[in-house]
């Protein structure tokens, strides 16, 4: 019965994604089109005939609304069009090249953050209000407060330049070049998950079913692992949606600092060069990624949480 409910919930949620995507595409399209300056303005003034040809080639001479519907049609068929800036490259190719890099970074960072954040949070919760708890939470607060782009140069300076243990940047899929960016990216998420986990674990440990479990004489270890862990981890699961967005955003600046050829650096480059199609492509692509991951997290949450039932429309 529950399975059925979740399936129905999934279907309604999937339908609900369509307006979100439409709004996303629409805002991004019109925003970048009302911008002063076009993709061909940066080079020296082109002869008018060539300019006209270029505009015709990229359909920039059509009325805006027509361009919009053309673009919508293209996107539905999965084609983001050619990049204005990187000649001979389609946006699809650029995304195909950049995304694996960014996804590897983000995935590893998420894994690291989830494991370490949860463990640290549980450790703090079990020693609530002790010196250890306070110092862990103090460090976690610091982790939330220090911006990525401050941590990254400091790590480069300390670990790469002075100590010389790891390379300072670049990308060749070797673990040595992954360590620093992944750690930098994960730090604030680790800190956030640790705080979340501590809070929910403390709350769960005060609930009646835990008292019952203890009263039965179960050893504390079993109480934590078998009874407290699952309900306590639920808030962390639902945070994974926003965490994905945070990691994607963070990767923009991290990729720039460590000179990593990921999707984030393409986005910043594209934005600075008014590469309409590239910028649009990345925004829409990342929008889809975030929306889909949120959707998965939502289902995971529903599946794990015994209190959620989808008998009624909510």
């Amino acid at each position: 019965m529950k399975q059925e409910g979740i399936l129905r919930h999934a279907a309604t949620r999937l339908l609900g994604l369509i307006p979100t995507l439409l709004v996303l595409i629409t805002i991004a399209f019109f925003l970048i089109r009302v911008a002063p300056g076009g993709p061909f303005d940066s080079e020296k003034a082109l002869p008018p005939e060539i300019r006209a040809n270029l505009d015709a080639k990229y359909h920039l001479d059509e009325p805006l609304l027509q361009q919009y519907f053309r673009y919508l049609g293209q996107i539905i068929s999965g084609d983001f069009g050619p990049s204005f800036q990187y000649k001979d490259w389609s946006v699809n190719e650029l995304i195909a090249q950049g995304f694996p890099v960014s996804a590897t970074l983000g995935g590893l960072a998420m894994l690291l953050a989830f494991v370490i954040g949860s463990l640290v949070g549980i450790a703090a919760a079990l020693r609530q209000n002790s010196a250890a708890d306070y110092s862990i939470m103090g460090v976690a607060m610091l982790g939330i407060s220090i911006p990525n782009f401050v941590v990254a140069p400091l790590l480069i300076l300390g670990v790469a330049v002075y100590a010389g243990w790891l390379p300072a940047g670049g990308w060749d899929w070797s673990w040595q070049r992954m360590v620093l960016p992944v750690v930098t990216l994960a730090l604030p998420v680790i800190a956030y998950i640790a705080r979340l986990m501590r809070g929910s674990m403390i709350e769960v440990l005060h609930s009646n079913f835990i008292r019952t479990a203890r009263a039965k004489g179960l050893p504390e270890r079993v109480v934590i692992r078998r009874h407290a862990l699952k309900p306590a981890i639920l808030p962390v699961i639902s945070y994974m949606g926003p965490a994905t967005a945070a990691l994607i955003t963070g990767s923009v600046v991290i990729e720039r600092i460590y000179s990593i050829p990921g999707l984030g650096s393409y986005f910043v480059q594209g934005a600075l060069n008014r590469d309409y199609t590239l910028v649009m492509g990345v925004v829409v692509f990342y929008g889809v990624v975030i929306i889909v991951l949120n959707f998965i997290v939502d289902l995971l949450y529903a599946w794990l949480n015994p209190r959620i039932r989808y008998d009624e429309t909510q």
Partner: protein
């Protein structure tokens, strides 16, 4: 409606109460007691007060102008002898003055953009919650939709499209940061609007706008204050993020994010140009987060983390 009679002035109990002048324990006194007992929040508050004073008055007291180029001391390390306590950057500008000046912009952005998001969020949330029904559903659906968008990318888009004017930074950041506020305010309004005093106002014939303005919004103040304190550091962070990418404030204006960016360029030869602005930025964010946490514990004790 009720049969209870209000105590008259002749009531001996009421007279005794008036004579004793017992100070009431309102929500606010309770909350400020709790807040003052929170040591981390109090210390953070003091540090932030000092920071604000430094940033506002510091540049006036220092002998250097922020754009003055000291050719005798370019990229010189911090020292008391040269008079550049924080050292100078690559073109010989005094880093202490620049850090304080940058702080003005960072804090100003934090404040103004928060106010923008506050104005939008409170109005939106209060209207949705108060009118309820279809209005509420449509308005909240819009919030859900915007919520799912990669918001940082939109701020970047806004900056690229409309240029990097400081006013635009306020609006752009504020305009994308009001969603949390709207959701919280709506929830609170939903529970407030069925309370007796609102019903009483409605029965007296007060119109909807006045009820929202005079009765709903003042009662939201506690929750709103908590979220204002938590929004300020977020906004400062977003601004410095933009400035770091080179999309925020423009020279000669500066902010902590822009200074960190400059510092990161020559950190190998002049690490102090990175460290000082970074420390100022981090300390500020750290303190605001602690104050926000303290306020939440004080005003909204059930939701502590």
């Amino acid at each position: 409606m009720s049969e209870r009679t209000t105590p008259s002035v002749e009531d001996p109990f009421a007279q005794a109460l008036a004579a004793a002048d017992v100070p009431g324990r309102s929500l606010w006194t309770d909350a400020s007691h709790r807040l003052l007992k929170n040591r981390a929040a109090v210390v953070s508050g003091i540090i932030m007060a000092v920071m604000v004073l430094l940033v506002v008055f510091g540049p006036m007291l220092l002998p250097w102008e922020p754009d003055f180029t000291d050719w005798d001391h370019t990229s010189s390390p911090p020292s008391l002898e040269t008079g550049h306590w924080f050292g100078t950057d690559a073109v010989g500008r005094d880093l202490l003055v620049r850090t304080l000046e940058g702080g003005r912009i960072s804090l100003l952005v934090g404040l103004v953009a928060t106010l923008v998001s506050l104005a939008i969020g409170v109005t939106y949330g209060a209207v949705a919650g108060y009118y309820g029904g279809l209005t509420d559903r449509v308005m909240m659906r819009v919030v859900d939709i915007i919520y799912a968008l990669p918001f940082m990318f939109f701020v970047i888009l806004l900056m690229v499209v409309f240029g990097r004017h400081i006013l635009l930074i306020f609006v752009a950041i504020g305009a994308v940061n009001w969603l949390d506020m709207a959701r919280i305010v709506r929830g609170q309004t939903l529970s407030l609007k069925n309370m007796e005093f609102v019903e009483a106002a409605r029965a007296c014939g007060v119109d909807h706008n006045a009820i929202i303005r005079r009765h709903i919004i003042p009662n939201l103040l506690g929750v709103v204050m908590v979220y204002v304190t938590l929004t300020i550091p977020q906004v400062i962070l977003v601004e410095s993020f933009l400035s770091f990418l080179g999309l925020g404030v423009q020279e000669p204006m500066s902010s902590w994010g822009a200074l960190v960016n400059d510092g990161a360029q020559d950190m190998e030869s002049a690490p102090w140009t990175l460290v000082f602005p970074a420390v100022f930025l981090t300390v500020t964010l750290y303190c605001f987060n602690y104050i926000g946490d303290g306020m939440r514990d004080a005003l909204d004790p059930k939701d502590r983390l």
